[in-house]
Symmetry: C2
Subunit: 295 residues, 2 copies
């Protein structure tokens, strides 16, 4: 598809929004990227890094000529930015977002966007690192990664096609999903692991105060806990935005962990081995999949 | 120290035992490495890879001239090999092991080694990968890693000094610890994370059967679950050998996870943020420590 965008407006120029801007610029499919944010020094940095061509801290000015507005603020700020956006957006401007929970953002969009709702294409790139901010942005972030779009029945087919094409130009493969399904899948594969990593490191940090256990942490622990270096504020917002699915997965996991604990208590070797074996088989399969992409 | 070993016998020539053999050979501090095992083809492979100079499947023959016997079999096989060893070992041979739980192995040694117990130096190198087997062995495995020794009051000072020097020559730094403390520290930083990774991947694998959730797993999930590729049999044995400490840590973690779950249920943002923030601070400190060594 010969997509050519005149103006893309990135609302929130951090790792995710900044990397998309860089990828689109490198693909040569956008003439002008406008950044919007509240922090002038960070926007100035984005300008100096060539991530945006210009910026504004006035939302009306920033979105004025945009073909596409990409909402790349943390999940906790999505509703307020959508509400603010509503008064400034023209009828033909396509709006998309990158939020890790979809039902809550769709709900906010339905509340605030009025007729523009048909041009809102909810999205979520499955990519990121434990780093954040525009200085962490890089054009290759979305290469061989998936982007999930969760449009509704009333979403404009042209708007969907445009957003799909935009992400493909950034190197991603695009899939569509029901918002509810997206939220459960992400709660399972992303939000739950982050919660476990945060909870584990916090538990052990309190033990560490009594005896220096971290002195003896090896590579496995390092890998296992890397995601506990993620932004606490951002992950709080994600857990709260996707609360129902997160709680469902937490309860499911806690039940399974209790079963494993009981098996160890009762010296039920077979159950312990079954769990470990099933996990290894599944992880090795998954590893092969990663090997095909980027592990 | 100018340690020079004539013969080292490695009982169980896999990743851990094989890497020690390679490291000692490279440091030029051992004249002859004898391998012992039950699997001739794997011993033959160790010979071809230059990990051992000779091997035997007869324990009496393998340990006959050894200055040091290194027990590098999985934790679940330690007691039977110690029992078997007892009849064949000479009074001056130093015995050490690499097991991930210390109290259970010390207990087995006290049961079976008789007077040789004074020459048994319990040890545990804090190193490894999710791979296993002699083909995964490499001489650098212990570089900048710690080895914990947990000798008792009756352990020969010379024997301790020899084992300490051996590990230092392999590139490790050696610390001493009470066996009980070792077992709790390892339950916290190694055994619990492995259990969580196995339990999580097993939970999600069952969800995956209903809907392809793993298709949407990203880098964070990959890192978080890498240790679920570890050897299930070996980890079963470790959990059972270190059962008390493992259960203590499991209960501690489950309590903490329940607190976090309750906070999300009750929309108690402050508690959630506090947990995430403390975890990030601790992990970032730890990350700096890793950066100083090998991350």
């Amino acid at each position: 598809m010969n997509m050519q965008l005149k103006t893309v407006c990135i609302i929130g120029v951090g790792l995710i929004g900044g990397s998309l801007a860089l990828a689109l610029k490198r693909a040569g499919v956008v003439s002008r990227v406008v950044g919007y944010g509240r922090n002038t020094s960070s926007l100035q940095q984005a300008l100096e890094l060539g991530v945006v061509d210009e910026f504004s801290t006035d939302l009306a000015v920033a979105v004025r000529e945009a073909d596409v507005v990409v909402l790349a603020v943390p999940v906790g700020h999505m509703e307020s930015i959508i509400a603010e956006l509503a008064g400034h957006i023209s009828a033909n401007t396509v709006i998309t977002d990158v939020g890790s929970s979809k039902q809550s953002i769709i709900h906010a969009a339905e509340q605030h966007l009025g007729n523009n709702i048909t041009h809102f294409v909810p999205g979520h790139p499955i990519a990121g690192t434990e780093k954040s901010g525009v200085t962490a942005a890089f054009a290759e972030l979305y290469q061989a990664h998936k982007v999930i779009l969760t449009p509704g029945n009333n979403t404009s087919a042209d708007a969907i096609a445009l957003v799909e094409s935009m992400w493909q130009q950034a190197g991603a493969s695009v899939v569509r999903m029901e918002p509810h399904h997206h939220d459960e899948v992400l709660a399972a594969t992303s939000h739950l692991p982050h919660l476990l990593a945060f909870a584990l490191v916090d538990s052990l940090a309190r033990l560490h105060e009594k005896s220096d256990i971290f002195e003896f942490a090896a590579g496995g622990f390092r890998d296992f806990t890397r995601i506990a270096s993620s932004n606490p504020e951002m992950w709080h917002d994600i857990c709260m935005a996707n609360r129902d699915a997160v709680l469902k997965m937490l309860h499911l996991f806690q039940n399974d962990l209790s079963r494993l604990t009981l098996a160890i208590e009762q010296r039920d070797s077979q159950t312990v081995k079954d769990i470990f074996n099933r996990a290894k088989t599944a992880r090795d399969k998954l590893c092969n999949k990663f090997l095909e992409s980027d592990e």
